[in-house]
């Protein structure tokens, strides 16, 4: 198997490679969006905490 034939995927390159690229993108999107969601939730708790603190407790 040569590098060229590997990338050619027996003539199916334009179907196979986008599928794998999309799969990896969706996996990465899941990690990214879960982290972002978690960071937003933390920020919200911190804001609530700061508000409670400034109310003189």
């Amino acid at each position: 198997m040569t590098v060229g034939s590997f990338f050619a995927m027996g003539g199916y390159a334009r179907y196979v490679w986008p599928c794998f690229a999309l799969a990896i993108s969706i996996l990465l999107w899941n990690v990214w969006s879960a982290r972002r969601y978690h960071a937003q939730a933390l920020k919200r708790v911190r804001r609530a905490l700061a508000m409670a603190g400034s109310n003189g407790s």
């Binding site: 196979v16 986008p18 794998f20 969706i26 879960a34």
Partner: protein, 244 residues
């Protein structure tokens, strides 16, 4: 007898356990997925009918399977929240929805890209394809229904109800290739017989199934933690955790 269950399902313990598990699940998922992709793309032999196009199965079939598994889990978690009024049920259901929807999209798009060279079309109103598309609409419906209510508790209940009603679609997707004449090929692995693949093709596929599952639970743990923070914002334990 149920006290241990209620204690285990309490937000602080779920938060702690999910936080510990998430990185390990994601790390082991990465190992399986990297192996599966390399072995599936470079070392598995080409199919005698489909040539190298068959390699799409490695990212497609586990995505389709996970889309159904996640939906079922979401319906069960919603039912737990609805029937026993366990708040964590709704938190888990809310955390599953976007992840499940993303794998449904992956299954549909990779299937479409596989259909073009094999069936000569990107899309057909075929039983398997149509029922999987309905699954995507159900996910979108559940997500938007939860967001549509001012009162989060009512949103949770409405979303759980829709998720439970929609679960009838899951067996329809699974058996559609047997019940009706479908373009889609039958099951390769998930059946009560020997898988219709030699080991050299099968191992990367099983690794991808395993990797996707571990990945799903890893991301789910992260999202459940975030859901809990959002939902328990006022609880004193949350404030302790955040302050620490």
């Amino acid at each position: 007898m149920w006290t241990w269950f209620y204690r285990l399902a309490s937000p602080p313990s779920v938060y702690r356990v999910a936080g510990v598990f998430a990185p390990w699940l994601l790390l082991s998922a990465a190992v399986f997925i990297v192996y599966g992709i390399i072995d599936g793309l470079a070392f598995a032999p080409p199919d005698y009918q489909q040539g190298d196009a068959f390699r799409i199965i490695y990212v497609h079939a586990p995505a389709g399977w996970l889309s159904m598994f996640a939906y079922t889990l979401m319906a069960i978690a919603g039912a737990v929240g609805l029937i026993w009024r366990i708040k964590m049920g709704h938190a888990v259901a809310a955390a599953v929805a976007p992840v499940g929807a993303s794998f449904t999209v992956l299954g549909l798009v990779t299937g479409s890209l596989w259909g073009r060279p094999m069936w000569g079309t990107y899309w057909a109103w075929d039983p398997r394809l149509t029922s999987e598309l309905i699954l995507l609409f159900l996910y979108v419906g559940v997500i938007s229904l939860r967001a549509a209510f001012e009162d989060p508790n009512r949103g949770d209940r409405a979303a759980a109800l829709l998720a439970i009603v929609g679960v009838v679609n899951v067996p329809i997707i699974h058996y559609s290739v047997q019940w009706w004449n479908s373009l889609h090929q039958g099951a390769t692995v998930a059946k009560f017989a020997k898988p219709s693949m030699p080991g050299s093709m099968l191992w990367p596929l099983l690794a991808m199934f395993m990797g996707y599952m571990l990945f799903f639970f890893g991301v789910l743990c992260m999202r459940v933690c975030a859901e809990i923070l959002n939902r328990e914002r006022q609880a004193s334990w949350v404030r302790e955790v955040v302050r620490a």
